[in-house]
């Protein structure tokens, strides 16, 4: 009986300690009491209209997006050409980076077939340039094969000096004309 009383007293004390500790904490706080904000809203809530049934089905949309993405990829594949030094078919660092991007596109869209064209500037002679253009196209082709593109999907054609993109007779024009182009079939 005595021990029950002492337990009750201990509980009371402990409670008192907690309350007093809480009071002490409240005393030290410096934050003002929360302002009371009255929210008044006269507008009536109207439920949003039920979602409109799409006129085209999701699959067609996705297909369209896919087509757009593919045409953009194809555009990227064909619009960027790689360039070479005079009488050279060596791939520069820049060319390798461009080819890596092309390889990604080719791997992603595995139904795309490309013709890689080799071109030269006008300074060489025709027959040697035809062989040089072939080497340039082949350099790009072989690099793409290394990067995992199926060789069956690519073919090579050399135009030598027959199709300059810049007909001028300047250093800049020659640089522009020494190139490999990618034509999607």
């Amino acid at each position: 009986m005595k021990s029950r009383w002492s337990l009750a007293i201990m509980v009371i004390f402990a409670l008192a300690l907690v309350v007093s500790a809480g009071c002490a904490k409240k005393k030290t706080t410096s934050t003002p009491p929360d302002p009371q904000v009255e929210i008044k809203d006269d507008t009536k809530w109207t439920p949003p209209p039920p979602p409109v049934e799409p006129k085209v089905d999701e699959a067609a949309l996705a297909a369209e997006a896919e087509v757009r993405a593919k045409s953009e990829a194809v555009e990227e594949l064909t619009s960027v050409t790689i360039h070479f030094g005079f009488d050279s078919y060596e791939l520069s660092e820049e060319s390798r980076a461009i080819l890596a991007l092309k390889a990604n596109i080719m791997r992603k869209y595995d139904d795309v077939r490309v013709v890689i064209e080799g071109h030269c500037d006008e300074r060489g002679t025709e027959e040697y340039n035809l062989a040089l253009g072939e080497r340039r196209a082949r350099a790009a082709y072989e690099h793409l094969v290394i990067l995992g593109v199926n060789p069956e999907r690519m073919s090579i054609v050399s135009f030598g000096e027959e199709r300059p993109i810049n007909p001028a007779h300047t250093e800049i024009a020659w640089e522009e004309n020494r190139r490999s182009e990618f034509v999607v079939q």
């Binding site: 025709e126 027959e127 035809l130 040089l132 054609v157 079939q185």
Partner: protein, 436 residues
């Protein structure tokens, strides 16, 4: 006895005359010599044969054709009759009808006579020094169409007598002509007549080359996605296109020994020269290397092949002996020597040498190893091609601002433009069939 004396006196006289004639010697031009002398020729006014009248219009046309033809011969100079003292020194077309003295005074070496009887022509050339007839020909049924042919034949025969080589005026040149964005193959005679279309295929039709008998022309056709080997047959007027087994690349096809096709193909990663068999399939590789080999050129016997190779790091000219397969380098100077052409007799090699001022044609004498520049621009001089005589060299030059065909000689004589019509002209290839 008396008769014997007369005979011996006469034979002695004959011997004297002969030795005088021998001393003078017939006039010939050594086109293989180190240089050449200028030969003056005058065209005497046409005469009526057997009291007939000279038909003035065709006679004038014939004279103009001959004069135009002869103007292509760098060592011939046509001297107008007006420079002769006393005017026309001839009364007929035969040697006895000509007074050579005023011509000798005017330093004229040769005199040509033309006789007319309706549509029948006789044409002769005499040496003014000895009165020797250099050449004499007659042509029947000469009409407006065949007049030019008669003039060509006569000039060819005349040139053959002078130089010992035939075929100049009747050996066509195949070439590539630009037509808008395409290039097509044509043929023309070196004096600028008989322009004929060979292809109308679109794309790029390049590098024409004749078969040894002059009946076929091989060429490269570049379509949108590949090269093809084209062969034109003049007997059937048909073009056959070949692709099977040749790969994507067909460069510089030529007819080699026994008229087999020799062509640069890329079958295993590098462009090499291959010999094709009778059904146009690759048979064997010539002068194998992992580098670019293109532009084969053969002499008439097919025993030697000149070609361009990148095996030394830059394109240079090499020779291969077809029997032994041995390859030796010919050009050692410059960094870009391409497009060799062997003369029909295999002695001379013409090629395109790149200089800081553009390409120029160089000539290499394979027997002495001596080299010289034979064209001097401006612009680019490319694609040398020997004529059937091994004396004339046709080439393409951009000296006028656009590429046109020109004619010079092994000695580097002043180039003459060959008229090829509208559009740029490239890659002349001369039919050497008449040099057999």
């Amino acid at each position: 006895m008396k008769r014997n004396i007369i005979i011996s006196v006469f034979s002695l006289l004959a011997l004297c005359v002969a030795s005088v004639a021998m001393a003078a010697g017939p006039l010939t031009v050594d086109i293989h010599g180190p240089g050449q002398r200028m030969v003056n020729i005058t065209l005497l006014p046409p005469k009526g044969l057997d009291d007939s009248q000279v038909p003035s219009a065709p006679a004038k046309a014939f004279e103009e054709l001959v004069a135009n033809n002869l103007s292509y011969i760098p060592f011939l100079k046509i001297v107008p009759i007006s420079t002769l003292l006393g005017g026309d020194p001839s009364t007929g077309v035969k040697g006895v009808d000509i007074d050579y003295k005023p011509m000798r005074l005017a330093r004229i070496d040769l005199a040509m006579t033309t006789g007319w009887n309706g549509s029948y022509i006789e044409a002769r050339v005499f040496e003014t020094f000895s009165g020797r007839r250099v050449v004499g020909k007659s042509y029947n049924d000469v009409g407006a169409m065949t007049l030019a042919q008669a003039a060509d034949r006569f000039c060819s025969a005349f040139l053959e007598e002078l130089t010992g080589k035939k075929g100049f005026f009747d050996s066509p040149i195949a070439f590539v002509r630009q037509e808008n964005k395409t290039k097509e193959i044509f043929t023309v005679l070196p004096q600028g007549r008989e322009l004929r279309r060979i292809t109308k295929l679109g794309g790029f039709n390049l590098s024409p080359a004749w078969s040894t008998d002059g009946t076929k022309i091989a060429f490269t056709h570049i379509g949108r996605t590949r090269h093809e080997l084209g062969i034109y047959d003049s007997t059937t007027k048909k073009i056959t296109m070949m692709t099977k087994g040749l790969g994507q690349t067909v460069i510089s096809p030529v007819f080699g020994p026994s008229d087999r096709l020799i062509v640069a193909l890329n079958r295993n990663g590098s462009t090499n020269i291959h010999e094709l068999d009778g059904s146009f399939k690759p048979k064997k590789m010539l002068a194998r290397s992992p580098y670019i080999d293109v532009s084969p050129s053969f002499d008439r016997t097919g025993s030697k092949m000149a070609f361009t190779s990148g095996r030394a790091g830059n394109p240079h000219i090499y020779m291969m002996d077809m029997k032994s397969g041995k390859v030796r380098r010919v050009t050692t100077t410059g960094k870009y020597n391409t497009h060799p052409c062997l003369s029909p007799n295999g002695r001379y090699l013409a090629y395109t040498h790149r200089t800081s001022n553009g390409h120029r044609i160089y000539l290499h004498d394979l027997t002495t190893g001596r080299e010289k520049q034979i064209t001097f621009g401006p612009g680019n001089d490319e694609y040398p091609a020997f004529g059937p005589d091994g004396y004339f060299v046709a080439f393409s030059s951009s000296r006028s601002g656009e590429y046109k065909l020109y004619l010079s000689t092994r000695h580097g004589d002043t180039p003459r433009k060959i008229s090829t019509g509208k559009g740029q002209a490239f890659a002349p290839a001369w039919d050497t069939a008449l040099q057999r």
